[in-house]
Structure formats: structure tokens, C-alpha cells
């Protein structure tokens, strides 16, 4: 169960953040380079999926998944 946290990626405005913690053990996130310490840039967090950039790679993810990524 994912608990909504104030500082999850889902609530962040455009900008670059550092991943602090990942709430769900998800291989998919690890595979795409989303690990604690990684830099992640929110490109769009409006309607539809959240679009982020990790390194030079653009990703689109659902809100549920974005909520499990804690950033600062």
C-alpha cells in the first residue's frame, strides 16, 4: 500500500530533485536508473501521466508510481 506523502514526486512542480527513497521495491524503477541519489527532473506534472527526465532519458509514469518516489 502506498501512502501519500507530501514530498513524493507526484506533488512536485517542475524542477530537478534528488531521489531520497523508493517506497515500493520496483525493479522497473531501478532498471531505468531511478535509485536513491539519482537526479530526476519533472518536465510536466499537469494532466495525464507525469513526465520526468532521468539522465538523458525521458519517462512517463502514472501517478501511483510517482507517489512511491520520495524526493527532496
Amino acid at each position: 500500500m502506498v501512502i501519500v506523502m507530501a514530498d513524493s514526486l507526484a506533488d512536485k512542480k517542475l524542477g530537478t530533485y534528488t531521489v531520497k527513497e523508493i517506497k515500493s521495491a520496483c525493479n522497473k524503477l531501478y532498471n531505468l536508473g531511478i535509485v536513491p541519489g539519482a537526479r530526476i527532473t519533472v518536465i510536466s506534472n499537469d494532466r495525464g501521466p507525469i513526465i520526468v527526465r532521468v539522465g538523458n532519458c525521458k519517462l512517463a509514469m502514472g501517478r501511483g508510481m510517482a507517489r512511491s518516489i520520495i524526493v527532496e
Binding site: 495525464g48 513526465i51 538523458n56
Partner: protein, 650 residues
């Protein structure tokens, strides 16, 4: 395989341009098959360079070597089993830090891959310099080659590197904490590991220890078979977890990324390019509007250009029929001209549609738009038990279900893939549009569009309902947390696009030359023997009449439906022949509507059924698909006919 032929494995993450590189290395000498026992495509090709022949194997695109997905397991097994092979690790240089993750794992496995920095043109365009000599040094001396498969840069260098390849031993060390844990496990490995699979005898002990800590399912299974080893390793795992205060699995992953960053330090600077177009393309309103617009252009293109070719193909077959009719001896004229040329020609006429549809999709895919479509549709598709990845196979199925089913291979979740395979044939394909189009003009002149639209809407709703029911009651799977990679937009690579278009179109031509040819001959004999007025076909149709009459369809319609199994467009030609060219006088609009509906929904054509069996590799699911379609069509036909009658139609 000849003695001096060497095996080269191409490995790399998804979207690194591996396939283009494979094409550049192997040219035309490619064989496409399957990995043993599974329907994951295996591509092999020959590279002849100087005096040596290399057998190049394109391994599935994988993020890591962890054995928790089918693709990754296939790749890892290949790498372990072919310990003498040369590995080429293809890297998308734009994402080099993430891609090095796999390189590190190959090194852990005791291999020394040739590192191939692909898309180097894109990186250098942004003025980013990458020192390949330093990278090679930091990777313990691995050969590093810069390439751009698209623009044929560095291909000769890569061939030379493959030719000169000599394995070296290189080792990458992680943090002291992790290395100590690995060492402690390795220390006891010889003593405790007694029950070991043949496969794992070939891998370094360090790899086994590290994979255990990472939670690799197969390696954990191996440890479980050796009780003492498992408890020893678990103790070490707990020790390290107390130290780092979180799970060791993610610690191993973090360590690899950290190493990759360390390697790149000073030799690579990240350039961040912003573009906002995806914000619009993935927008829940604008995104769909743009999608609809692109689809409109696509279908206009396919139908507009296709029609020009179709006219010529029709003319050609007409001419051929006349010419052959003049030279074939009298008793065979019927079967050759009306049977073979008429039947096969009638189907081949659709070839331009299929080819242009495949071409358009290949272009959209190669530019990067299709991955946006996947992300855009995911939410909607998830509601009916499918996933974003099902969108493209279903779209392709509107052209032809055969390539549509083949396109499901890109769906990573096997459950979602199965459901997509089961429902995609419900999309009215080009052949069914022929039936719809014919009936529309023959019976509903004024309301032709309305008629076509209603058939389309009914079949799409059925697809949604069936997918939902199957996912709810038959193929249950966990809902997938969506995350999609959006590769950068790129100019199309025409070489790759044409190859792909041809590969898909070929399967259509093949079936025209085999199944449909055989079907056409059979069809001719059934309708004309023992004599045209009392043929076997008529008897067969009359046997089914008792069921089809419930939906207002007589034996002629039943017969047409039987032939429609060979290829749906045969429904029209059978009706033409069975009613002596006067369908309009013989059917009422209601009956025409019901017949069209049944034609669209019942058993998919033979070629689709064959593909369904090939893709699921399972007879039970194939029979299920055929059975539910048949039951659905029968029910729907009876219900529609009787509702129509109640409403006062005849």
C-alpha cells in the same frame, strides 16, 4: 556451423539501436526464428570479415541480467552457455550512465564485452565529448568503439574490433562493505555448494554471491537447494542490512549506478535537453486529438495510395485470367481461372493496404511516436484489463490481425499479452472492411457510413467487454504500474523501415500463396462438384442452415461463412456466386446487417488462427479464442435478427 565460425552476441538495453546495428553488420543474411520453447524472437545473421565468418545473434533488449523477466533470462542463459562467444555491449551514449549498469553486470559474469557507444552522432551534435580511451582504461581495458549505426559511422571499426577480439580478465570492485560480504559468501561456497545446476558451474563464484544478495530468483533458488549455504548467506545478508539500514537488494543496484557514475567522472558531462512537445502529445485531451488526426492522415494515406495500386492489380489479374483461360486445356479452365486466379487475385488485391499500413506504422514507430501512444492510452486500456502496450497491436489489427498479433511481442506482461492476443482479432481488419464496404453500398446506399460506423462500434465495444471479462475471470493478473520510456524523436531510418515493412508484408504474401491458394481450389470444387446445381458445398451449407436460419441466413449465407474462415473477403465472392450475382434481390437490409455482423465477429481467418497458435504456443488458448468468437457471433446474430424483426424489419 563451420569450425572457424565464431559466435557474436549483441546485447544491450532496449532502444539503443541494437537492431539497426545488427542490420548494418549482417546485411541481408538474416534468419528469424524463436528462442527454444518460447515465442521471443531470435535473430541471427552472418558477418564475413577478412578470413573469418561470424554468427551474429541479436539478444533480447534487456535492462539487467537479473533473471526476473523472460527476456533477461534468455539473454543471461545465452551468455553463460556460450562462454567462448564474443559479446558486443551496445550502449545508447545519450544514456551511458544507465547503460553501463549492464556492462558492469557482464563484467561480474566474468565476460569482457566490446563496448559499442552507439548514437555517437547525437551526442557529438550537442558538443559533448567523450574520451573513449579513458573509458576503456577505467573499464579495465575493454575495447570501446564509437558508432552510429544509422549513419554507418564506425561500423568498420566495430568489425575490426570483433575480428581482433581477445578475452581479457577485468574486475570491478564495489564498496568495501559489499566486497566483504561477497568474500564471506565466496569463502564457504566450495564447501557448502554441493547441489549445483550445470549452468551455474560456468559462472564466477563472485557472481553467484552478488546475485544472491541482489535477490536474483534463480540464484536464490540454487542457494535454497543447499541449506547450509543458504543460512550462511542469509546471516551475512542480515549483517549488511543492519549496517545500511535498508534492504541489500537495492543496495547492490545503487552500488552499480554509483560505480557507473564514478567511471564516467571526468570523461563525460551530461547535457540536458529540454523539449516540451510530449506535454501536449500525452495530454489527456490534446493528445487524443493529435492521435486522431495522425490516424486520419494514416488511413487516408493507406487507402488513397493503396487504391491506385489496387486498380492496377485488379487489371493485371483480369488480364491474366483472360490470357491463361486461352491457353489452359478446356477441363481445367474453370479451376485455374475462376478458382486459382480469381481466389488468390481477390485476396492479393489487398496487398497494397497491408504493405502501406505496415510502412506507416514502421515510420511512426521509428520516429518515436508509437511509444507516446502507448503512454497516452495506458489509463484507458488498463480499465478494460489491457495495457498501453496493447494499443498498437489493436491498431495494427485494423489492417490485418496477423501482424497485429505479432506486434504483441512487445508487451512485457505475459498476461496482458495473452488477453491482447485473444481480443485483437475482434478489430475489423481490411478484409472485413471489404465485406462491410460491399454490404454498405449494396444495401444501405444512403446510410452506408452509419451502417459501417455501427458495425465498427459494436465490434469495438465487444472487444472492450470481452477483454474486461477475460481479465476479470479467466486470465487474472496484477494491475501493472505504468512507466514508459519515451525515446527521443528521431528522423526515420529508411533502411530499417523498409526491412520491417517487407518482413511483415511477406507473411501476407506467403499466406496468399499457400492457405488461400489451397482454399480457392477447394472452394471451387466444393461449389462445382458433383455438379453445380447440387454441390457438396450446398449440402454442407444446408447442414448448418438449421442454426443460421435462426438469424435469417439460409444455406448460401452459411456456406459463405464457412469459406470466410479461409479468408473473410471470400464471404463476398461466395455470396456473389451462390446467389448468381444477385445478392441485393436475395437478402433484406436486416439480413445483410446480421450477416455482416456475424462475419466480423465469428472465427478469425485461418491465417489468424495459425498466428494465434504460434504466438500463444498453446492449443488450449487457440481453441478458446475460436470457440468464444463462434459462440459470440452466433448469439449476437440471433439476438440482432430477432430485435430487428421486433422493430418491424424483415
Amino acid at each position: 556451423m563451420s569450425k572457424n565460425q565464431k559466435i557474436v552476441g549483441l546485447t544491450g538495453q532496449p532502444n539503443v539501436g541494437k537492431t539497426t546495428l545488427f542490420n548494418a553488420l549482417t546485411g541481408m543474411s538474416q534468419r528469424i526464428g524463436n528462442w527454444p520453447g518460447v515465442t521471443v524472437e531470435k535473430k541471427e545473421g552472418i558477418l564475413k570479415y577478412k578470413d573469418t565468418e561470424f554468427n551474429i545473434v541479436d539478444l533480447p533488449g534487456i535492462y539487467s541480467l537479473k533473471s526476473d523477466s523472460l527476456d533477461q533470462k534468455i539473454a543471461r542463459d545465452f551468455i553463460i552457455e556460450n562462454e567462448d562467444s564474443i559479446l558486443v555491449d551496445v550502449i545508447d551514449t545519450n544514456n551511458i550512465n544507465r547503460n553501463l549498469y549492464l556492462t558492469l553486470q557482464l563484467i561480474e559474469l566474468g565476460r569482457s564485452p566490446i563496448v559499442c557507444l552507439n548514437f555517437i552522432d547525437e551526442v557529438e551534435k550537442h558538443d559533448v565529448k567523450l574520451d573513449e580511451k579513458k573509458l576503456s582504461e577505467k573499464l579495465g581495458g575493454l575495447p570501446v568503439i564509437k558508432t552510429s549505426a544509422r549513419y554507418k559511422i564506425g561500423i568498420e571499426d566495430l568489425k575490426e574490433a570483433i575480428y581482433n577480439y581477445k578475452p581479457i580478465s577485468c574486475e570491478i570492485k564495489y564498496s568495501e562493505l559489499l566486497e566483504n560480504a561477497i568474500e564471506k559468501i565466496v569463502d564457504k561456497l566450495d564447501e557448502y555448494l554441493t547441489n549445483i545446476d550445470e549452468k551455474f558451474k560456468k559462472v564466477p563464484k563472485r557472481y553467484l554471491a552478488l546475485s544472491f544478495l541482489e535477490g536474483d530468483p534463480e540464484v536464490v533458488e540454487l542457494f535454497k537447494k543447499n541449506g547450509e549455504l543458504l543460512s550462511h548467506a542469509n546471516r551475512i545478508k542480515e549483517e549488511i542490512e543492519r549496517e545500511i539500514k535498508h534492504d541489500v537488494e537495492s543496495y547492490v543496484v545503487e552500488q552499480r549506478y554509483k560505480k557507473a557514475d564514478e567511471i564516467l567522472k571526468g570523461i563525460w558531462t551530461e547535457s540536458i535537453v529540454y523539449d516540451d512537445i510530449d506535454k501536449i502529445l500525452l495530454h489527456p485531451i490534446y493528445g487524443f486529438v493529435i492521435f486522431a488526426f495522425i490516424m486520419y492522415i494514416l488511413y487516408s494515406f493507406v487507402i488513397g495510395v493503396g487504391d491506385i495500386f489496387i486498380e492496377y492489380i485488379e487489371m493485371f489479374f483480369e488480364y491474366l485470367g483472360g490470357y491463361v483461360g486461352g491457353i489452359v486445356p478446356e477441363p481445367y479452365t474453370g479451376v485455374v481461372v475462376d478458382g486459382i486466379i480469381g481466389g488468390v487475385g481477390g485476396v492479393l488485391v489487398f496487398f497494397p493496404y497491408i504493405a502501406f499500413m505496415m510502412l506507416s506504422l514502421a515510420i511512426l514507430e521509428d520516429c518515436g511516436y508509437l511509444s507516446r501512444v502507448t503512454a497516452l492510452f495506458h489509463k484507458m486500456m488498463a480499465k478494460i484489463g489491457l495495457s498501453g502496450g496493447s494499443t498498437i497491436p489493436i491498431m495494427v489489427s485494423f489492417g490485418c490481425a496477423v501482424p497485429g498479433l505479432m506486434a504483441t511481442r512487445s508487451i512485457s506482461d505475459p498476461m496482458k499479452r495473452l488477453i491482447t492476443i485473444l481480443v485483437a482479432p475482434l478489430a475489423p481488419c481490411a478484409a472485413r472492411f471489404v465485406v462491410i464496404g460491399f454490404m454498405a453500398t449494396a444495401f444501405f446506399s444512403q446510410y452506408a457510413n452509419l451502417f459501417a460506423l455501427s458495425i465498427l462500434l459494436i465490434s469495438l465495444s465487444l472487444m472492450g467487454i470481452i477483454a474486461y471479462l477475460i481479465s476479470k475471470f479467466i486470465v487474472k493478473g496484477k494491475p501493472e504500474e505504468p512507466i514508459f520510456e519515451l525515446p527521443p524523436y528521431r528522423l526515420p531510418d529508411w533502411n530499417y523501415i523498409l526491412k520491417r515493412t517487407w518482413a511483415y508484408s511477406k507473411s501476407f504474401l506467403k499466406r496468399a500463396g499457400t492457405i488461400i491458394l489451397a482454399g480457392s481450389i477447394l472452394f471451387y470444387y466444393l461449389l462445382n462438384y458433383p455438379n453445380p446445381d447440387n454441390s457438396y458445398g450446398m449440402m454442407l451449407g444446408k447442414m448448418l442452415e438449421s442454426i443460421t436460419l435462426l438469424m435469417g441466413i439460409d444455406w448460401r449465407g452459411a456456406l459463405a461463412l464457412i469459406f470466410g474462415i479461409i479468408a473473410k473477403e471470400l464471404v463476398v465472392s461466395t455470396l456473389e456466386i451462390a446467389y448468381n450475382g444477385n445478392i441485393v434481390g436475395a437478402l433484406t437490409p436486416l439480413k445483410a446487417f446480421v450477416l455482416t455482423l456475424v462475419t466480423v465477429v465469428y472465427i478469425p481467418c485461418l491465417a489468424t488462427v495459425a498466428t494465434l497458435h504460434y504466438e500463444t504456443n498453446n492449443l488450449k488458448w487457440t481453441l478458446f479464442a475460436v470457440g468464444y468468437n463462434l459462440a459470440l457471433a452466433t448469439t449476437l446474430g440471433i439476438v440482432a435478427y430477432n430485435i430487428g424483426r421486433l422493430l418491424g424489419f424483415s
